[in-house]
Amino acid sequence: MEIAEAVLDTALIGLLLTMAWATLHTQRMSAAIALFAGFGMVLALIWARLRAPDLALAEAAIGAGLTSALLLRAASITREETIRIPTSRLWLRWLFVTAVFAWLAVHVLALSTLDGGHSLPELVTGQTPNSGVRHPVTAVLLNFRAWDTLLELLVLLLALLGFRQIARHNRHPYDADHHPAPWPLLKAWSRSLAPLLVVTGGYLLWRGSDDPGGAFQAGAVLAAALVLLRLSGQLPVFRWSRWTVRLAALTGPALFLSVAIGSAVMGEGWLNYPDNASTLLIVLIESAATVSIAVTLAFLVAGEEEDIAE
């Protein structure tokens, strides 16, 4: 049994590193992107192996899904560039990288047996019942370290704003007429797929307070549904100039910030939820964040530039 597990781990790590290397150094871009998607899947398996279900869910939605769509979109515009493989002093470079790796490894290996005093995980486990949710990771994300999560939602929003800046200045927009019409099969398939995605997203959100899952995973799955519907031409164009769209993209950070300010003004302090309302507040914030994450990611992956420009 032990040996078989070792074989499994070795195979996973070997696959991961080979794919990572090949992603960067294979000749053709389409191969690189396919490898990157495969890399995301292997990483999801590794998260499962390391007993991190929240991450596995997130990686399955993001790494294996949305990132490759993003990459493909960018690559379809890029001219195919073949990679020059440098031949001179390759061994020197290898030697250098190996040396750095050995140096890092020697230091970091010492950490694998330490447990870091494990006071913090114990604190989290101890306080989770008082946090308003039962799943410790959700408790950390939305209560103990909610400030990080609020700032993280702003990071996501800023990516969208950056995209908007680019779109506004682009004088050569991607002509929508040039897109080939989607096949009827694709339309039918996305019509049946989208409800399933929505249900799964809702399920992940609902479960987040007790079990692995939560706003980000749910938002990513919902974003996939929006992307699919948008690409198969079944969703009306969402335009930034509509206030509903802006509201959807902003509701997560806005609500979160309002709760923070409200709790500082009326209650105990910044992001200190009142005891009896913490569950309700967390659920509200999570739902709003899910909507924002879904809309923002969908914009970033499938949005046309003219949608957002004005």
Partner: protein, 92 residues
């Protein structure tokens, strides 16, 4: 060689593969991928550290979820910027 050790080393190796790619590759698209790989390497280190305890460390998992959001946001912006740049260059 425990699981933790193996994946810690794998995370470091991934980080270095990405860093090496970032420093040596010419194509911007590949460099964006390389930064992503670096990120995955760091996340792998964090998750391997979380698996040291019998009950995995929820703090580290939460940090990685936050890190994943940050990383996808920045990647998306970089790819959009790259796409716009390429089209701009093509059209002269």
């Amino acid at each position: 060689m425990t699981i933790v050790t193996a994946y810690l080393l794998a995370g470091l190796a991934l980080f270095l593969i990405g860093l090496h790619g970032l420093l040596t590759l010419q194509s911007m698209l590949r460099r964006i991928m390389a930064v992503n790989l670096m990120g995955s390497g760091v996340f792998l280190v964090l998750t391997a550290l979380a698996a040291r305890l019998p009950e995995t460390d929820p703090v580290l998992h939460a940090l990685v979820v936050t890190g994943l959001v940050v990383s996808i946001s920045a990647t998306a912006l970089a790819l959009r910027l790259h796409g716009a740049l390429e089209r701009h260059r093509e059209d002269g």
